[in-house]
């Protein structure tokens, strides 16, 4: 009786020590955290058809770095989590001698903080997502903007469609 009791408890303890060795202090890459804005580009000439961008340079008005995309019809860009607006300058054909064409888009939203886990901390979902295109712009290239999702909570859906 004593021996059985002892061995059962020792086994349980050994198992628990093994189980508790698993690290969960590092945020796993697969964990869904703050989603980026997923933008898909469509052709104005062939409605419903994707159109790849060439040399699209995207710069947030307060940041010096530029995000560059080329040869793709779907991009994802981050939104500010510490503000309720993010304004990006979309410069297409940026490598051209003329400097390409430019549109300024302002994304506005409300942020919703959500606890993820001890390793990742918190994430933000963007709700009530809206977009505004700067007016009176002779260099404009975007013809149509469609918001597909007003709540941005993952990166598996397209949130915004741009037709040009």
């Amino acid at each position: 009786m004593k021996k059985i009791l002892c061995s059962v408890i020792l086994m349980a303890l050994a198992f628990s020590l093994l189980a508790s060795c698993e690290r969960d202090d590092i945020c796993a890459a697969a964990t869904p955290t703050t989603p980026k804005l997923v933008v898909e580009f469509f052709s104005a000439d062939n409605p419903g058809q994707n159109r790849n961008v060439s040399n699209l340079a995207i710069t947030e008005i307060n940041v010096e770095d530029t995000l560059r995309f080329t040869g793709t019809s779907e991009i994802s860009i981050p939104l500010r989590t510490d503000a309720i607006e993010t304004t990006y300058i979309f410069n297409i054909n940026s490598e051209a001698a003329s400097g390409g064409r430019i549109d300024t888009l302002t994304f506005s939203y409300a942020t919703e903080e959500l606890y993820v886990n001890r390793a990742c901390g918190f994430k933000v979902n963007f709700i009530d997502f809206r977009v505004r295109q700067a007016n009176n712009n002779p260099l404009s290239w975007i013809q149509d903007l469609v918001i597909n999702e007003i709540i941005i909570e993952n990166e598996s859906e397209t949130h915004l469609s741009i037709t040009y």
Partner: protein
């Protein structure tokens, strides 16, 4: 031949006494005592200490000195209820800080654990060492303060969004069940040294809206995907003897 004769006589004597015991037990009680006395030559008597053992957890004191993120104290006591069974409990206080890349959280609170220890070790005569398994029910009251956290992004385009508006969550409670296994060895006089490991399963804990219980005093850290916890301790103990039981143990001739 001689021993065989002695054996026979003993058996006959036993037979006779058993008849007497069955027939007139009350009147011959005194004589029965004599039979017991007869066996003294085959046994030894010793005193077995019963009392209250008070322990101080050394691992928590050590950790408090070594680790800036931890401060804790635990006092334990057990009372020897019967030969192998001890009624046991622990009382403690802990302040533990979880300080990692994406959040810093401080847990502050007290706990009590109550249960039993069962000694599975057969001591040599006169010794009071223990190898035991135990069961506890633990209960903690505590508070958590989320001191700072970052909004986690996989992208480094914007500077990291660190939030430092600390948030406190008070009046939290948790309960758990715990298995213990340990050893306690008599060092000198009534002093003992002990070590034990703990395996526990969280039964309940106050839900915190949009946050979690990262550390529970007495339970130690929690895990995101399981209710299991583990712990350990080293202790120094002092036995306050309350009474002794005279025990008799047969000795092979």
């Amino acid at each position: 031949m001689k021993s065989l004769l002695k054996m026979n006589l003993k058996l006959i004597y036993l037979l006779l006494t058993s008849f007497i015991v069955i027939l007139i037990p009350e009147k011959l009680a005194a004589q029965n005592d004599n039979t017991e006395y007869e066996q003294v030559t085959d046994s030894i008597f010793y005193k077995d200490k019963y009392g209250l053992t008070v322990s101080l957890d050394l691992s928590r004191i050590g950790l408090s000195f070594l680790n800036d993120d931890y401060q804790g104290l635990e006092i334990a006591a057990d009372y020897r209820f019967s030969d192998d069974l001890y009624i046991a409990g622990e009382l403690g206080n802990e302040i533990a800080t979880y300080n990692e890349e994406n959040l810093t959280n401080e847990t502050d609170g007290s706990y009590i654990k109550l249960g039993v220890n069962y000694n599975i070790y057969d001591n040599w005569i006169g010794m009071t060492n223990l190898i035991y398994v135990g069961f506890r029910y633990g209960f903690a009251t505590y508070s958590q303060t989320l001191e700072n956290y970052t909004i986690y992004t996989t992208d480094s385009y914007f500077e990291s969004d660190l939030r430092t508006d600390s948030r406190s969550f008070g009046n939290l409670t948790a309960s758990w069940i715990e298995l213990q296994a340990g050893i306690r060895v008599n060092i000198i006089g009534n002093f003992y040294m002990g070590a034990h490991v703990q395996l526990k399963n969280l039964v309940s804990s106050t839900e915190i809206p949009n946050f979690d219980n990262l550390y529970i005093p007495g339970f130690r850290r929690t895990y995101d995907n399981s209710s299991i916890g583990a712990g350990w301790g080293y202790s120094i103990s002092y036995l306050i003897p309350i009474y002794s039981k005279t025990k008799r143990q047969a000795v092979d001739n």
